[in-house]
């Protein structure tokens, strides 16, 4: 079939990382996807490829996605060497119309030390959950609570908190970092909660536990490469990392005694 009838389709070739479960390494396999509609998204191009593989009786490429609108953080492909590809969005938001006709596209998993490959393009990112689990919350039980308007919170502070809590937990920051650091992810949650009055009581313990969990999970340390910010689909800023570091120092130098007063340890 010819391509580009009325410029409505393109043919691309993809080099995809294939790795069976339990296998130590993997390899690239090349496929041609003819007549991909220009209106299709990048993942729909992979759907078309997978459907053709199933029709031929072959094992389709394992990759993950769910919302397909850039909010759930499930999709996680390295496209042409960049987590989520060339535009600052999630993999599911990449559109075929932004690829050249006859493009050769390389697709790899988000794999780093703390994200082992499970199969093909699927990785295990549960290490990020364990960082949140260590302290990324405000302790409250379900039940009656104070009237929220009794504590006014400045508009700008709320906007700032929302910028930080816009993180979708996709792990692109980790995949982009030459050191495999999760500092952007961790600091965004710390920043969100540290800005709010509700977040103050656990502020010191939170930062200590989360930073330690990050180290325990095998994430690397931050060396200011700033690749994380460049790859973040939600535009999370590296300025939060500075805040995390200063909060961490404060929290480790100061400790709270039983009467609640601060003293140096």
């Amino acid at each position: 079939m010819s391509q580009d009838h009325d410029q409505k389709t393109i043919t691309v070739s993809v080099r995809v990382w294939r790795q069976a479960q339990g296998e130590k390494g993997g390899r690239f396999v090349e496929y041609e996807v003819a007549d991909t509609p220009l209106e299709a998204s990048f993942l729909e191009m992979l759907d078309i490829l997978n459907e053709s593989l199933v029709e031929k009786g072959e094992d389709p490429i394992a990759f993950e996605s769910d919302c397909r609108e850039g909010i759930c953080g499930t999709c996680c492909l390295v496209v042409d060497g960049l987590p989520h590809g060339p535009s600052q969005c999630t993999t599911c938001q990449l559109q075929m119309r932004n690829f050249e006709p006859e493009a050769k596209i390389t697709i790899e998993p988000f794999s780093t030390g703390a994200f082992p490959v499970i199969k093909d393009l699927i990785v295990d990112r549960s290490s990020l959950d364990r960082v949140i689990q260590a302290g990324g919350y405000i302790t409250v039980h379900s039940g009656p609570k104070p009237e929220p308007n009794s504590v006014p919170i400045e508009h700008e502070i709320m906007e700032d908190a929302l910028d930080a809590s816009a993180c979708i937990g996709c792990g692109a920051c980790v995949a982009a970092c030459p050191n495999g650091s999760a500092s952007l992810f961790t600091s965004a949650k710390i920043h969100h909660l540290a800005l709010l009055p509700q977040g103050q009581p656990e502020r010191n313990t939170r930062v200590k536990k989360m930073v330690e969990a990050m180290d325990d999970e095998g994430f690397g340390s931050c060396r200011n490469y700033a690749e994380c910010q460049a790859s973040c689909p939600k535009g999370i800023s590296i300025k939060y990392i500075g805040r995390m570091n200063s909060d961490y120092i404060k929290a480790t130098v100061l400790d709270t005694d039983r009467r609640g007063s601060m003293h140096a340890t």
Partner: protein
């Protein structure tokens, strides 16, 4: 065994039912709670809030999800907001008004007592979420901000830009992670529930597939809570996440849980239109856009001018003209049907002729681009990324799409299904939204169910169980496991030619065309026959590759499609037997002179609850009569 349809609604006036009930409900004491194992399937807003609340009370909670982490549940995608009758605007809001709006919005097909309780609990949800650190929008003075949604005349919707669901879910997820850290919640991710286990008539556990190893395993507990979301993905094209499915509730239905109002499905008016057959999902543009955007089509058919070049006098603002009081903010079912009508008449835009404009020209002129950007910036960007067109420069092009299921498992006042010990919460139950849900009310219902209602009602059913533990060595577990394995083997061994995706797409077309925005008896009968045909194609000619002992997305889809086919068939039968129009359910045979829905309260003021019999016998339709004490049903008018 006969199904028990006792809705267990407490006596007394509607305002006092919930407090009366709480005074008399059986409780499990704090020291006994750790000896109860509760299984919660799903961690959307309903499941995450329920699991964390139950764990914080001291129960041992076992959570199952097919996602890799609880934070990815479909609730994350909710955009617009959550309702609560705080009356911060002093614009006349109250518990009664929220109750009234929900009853009327649902076209008087929901249960009064439940809806009233929902309205009563709404304000506590906001307090709870603020305490967790959910960053709701604030005004410049530091107070919480509100906006308005369809079908109401007050501003009661709380929001976090266009990502309210995400922020609410992160709040619940963080509380859940804390409970996981404390060891009170045991998380099983990438595990899909494939069946329910009953022992002596009571729900006692589930059978699930480890989606990585393919192993079939089981878990036992004293109660099972399904918080597995809606089944709208039966239509293939929908605004649901692509993995959303109806398997958990369908399998529970086949084990004896009645399924209520399956045909009540909401079609959302403002979505990005379908552009081709390859399309995997439809993207919603939040209803909040209708606060400031105006919906119109050109007055001239086959209009070729650019929208910006069409003068005011040649624009047909059909919602504003037909419904002057509510205008662009009519409820969803009304707005969707109106879009379909103008497009069917030939006024629609785009290549297919099936889209209408949602225009911000006037709002940008009056409020300035930066105000509009602050309110809706991420929605405008999302639209531009997908379509390549900027809504700042030209109107959105939108068309309705499948969005939400009002139907679901039948539950009583305690949120217990017809199987003792089995509960359904969130979108998975037949819920409080009758025949049409108002915008921003699902998040409210999910969190009311999970934070406040279930944690206080579940003890009622647990009390008698105390000395009566069952574990997975009980023969019922082995029996159900064998049935699940047989089913998977059957699916794997067909080795035909039709992929699960192709069958799913064809099912979707049947449902969209015949059980969508407009329905009639002869089309519905036709669709039932077509779906029968697809079912036999599935079981005789299905093609699956790979192995059942590996990650296998084709097998996962096949199992879900098998259930969607059965759900789809029941949806059509429910739509056929409900021989009236109400809310989303527009039967062409029943409309008034202006083409609006014509309800028949004499014959259909009831919930239709379907009981599964067996493979060879059709489900039986039961009726739960709806009683209206606080508000008498009236003709719904938004004129």
């Amino acid at each position: 065994m006969m199904i028990d349809f006792n809705s267990a609604i407490p006596s007394g006036p509607v305002e006092d039912k919930w407090s009366n009930h709480l005074e008399h409900v059986n409780l499990v004491g704090p020291r006994n709670r750790p000896s109860y194992d509760i299984i919660v399937v799903g961690t959307g807003l309903a499941g995450a809030s329920a699991a964390s609340s139950l764990a914080a009370q001291g129960y041992r909670v076992h959570v199952f999800i097919y996602h890799d982490t609880p934070r990815r549940a479909h609730s994350i995608a909710a955009q617009g907001g959550i309702n609560a009758c705080k009356n911060y605007r002093e614009d006349g809001d109250s518990v009664h008004r929220l109750f009234y709006d929900t009853q009327k919005g649902g076209d008087f097909r929901s249960r009064e007592a439940n809806v009233y309780r929902l309205a009563q609990n709404s304000t506590a949800i906001i307090d709870q979420c603020v305490a967790q650190g959910v960053p709701f929008a604030r005004e410049y003075g530091g107070m919480l901000a509100n906006r308005s949604f369809g079908g109401v005349l007050v501003e009661r919707t709380f929001y976090c830009r266009g990502q309210t669901g995400q922020q609410l879910l992160l709040g619940a997820y963080q509380s859940l992670q804390k409970e996981i850290d404390q060891g009170r919640v045991i998380l099983h991710s990438r595990c899909e529930m494939l069946d329910l286990v009953k022992v002596e008539g009571r729900a006692r556990g589930i059978i699930y597939r480890d989606m990585v190893s393919g192993e079939i395993r089981s878990a036992a507990g004293e109660a099972v809570v399904l918080a597995t979301g809606g089944y709208g993905a039966a239509y293939f094209n929908s605004t649901n996440a692509i993995n959303s499915n109806g398997t958990a509730i369908w399998r529970a239905h086949r084990r004896g849980a009645a399924f209520a109002n399956p045909s009540f499905v909401q079609i959302h008016p403002t979505c990005i239109p379908v552009s081709g057959d390859y399309q995997s999902k439809l993207t919603l543009m939040s209803e909040s856009l209708r606060n400031d955007g105006r919906v119109w089509v050109p007055r001239k058919k086959d209009e070729t001018r650019k929208p910006g070049d069409i003068p005011e006098s040649e624009r047909y603002y059909y919602l504003e003209e037909r419904y002057p009081t509510f205008g662009n903010l009519v409820p969803r079912d009304v707005a969707s049907r109106a879009a379909k009508v103008v497009c069917d008449e030939g006024y629609g835009m785009g290549e297919s002729g099936y889209s209408v404009f949602l225009d911000f020209r006037d709002a940008i002129k009056h409020q300035g681009q930066s105000t509009i950007a602050e309110k809706y910036g991420n929605l405008f960007n999302m639209y531009e990324e997908i379509t390549g067109e900027s809504p700042y420069q030209q109107p959105f092009r939108i068309y309705p799409a499948v969005h939400y299921c009002m139907g679901g498992l039948w539950v009583d006042y305690n949120l217990q299904t017809t199987i003792p010990g089995l509960y359904a919460i969130g979108e998975a139950n037949f819920s409080d939204h009758g025949a049409n849900r108002l915008g921003a009310s699902s998040l409210m219902q999910c969190l009311a169910d999970g934070y406040f209602i279930l944690p206080q009602t579940i003890g009622d059913g647990l009390q008698p169980m105390f000395r009566d533990k069952v574990d997975t060595s009980h023969p019922e577990f082995a029996k159900t496991t064998a049935e699940v394995k047989d089913r998977i083997n059957r699916v794997m061994s067909i080795q035909g030619d039709s992929t699960p995706l192709s069958i799913h797409k064809r099912l979707g077309k049947q449902l969209w065309n015949h059980c969508g925005m407009s329905r009639n008896a002869s089309d519905l009968k036709g669709a039932i026959d077509q779906i029968d045909g697809l079912q036999s194609e599935f079981w005789n000619n299905l093609k699956i590759t790979g192995s059942a002992d590996d990650i296998n997305p084709t097998l996962e889809r096949a199992m879900r499609v098998a259930d969607f086919l059965e759900i789809g068939s029941l949806m059509c039968r429910d739509a056929l037997t409900r021989d009236e129009s109400c809310g989303c359910h527009f039967r062409e045979e029943h409309q008034n002179a202006e083409g609006e829905v014509l309800r028949n309260d004499g014959d259909f003021a009831h919930v239709a609850a379907w009981e599964w019999k067996d493979e060879d016998t059709q489900q039986v339709r039961h009726e739960e009569a709806l009683e209206f004490d606080a508000i008498q049903p009236a003709t719904r008018s938004y004129k």
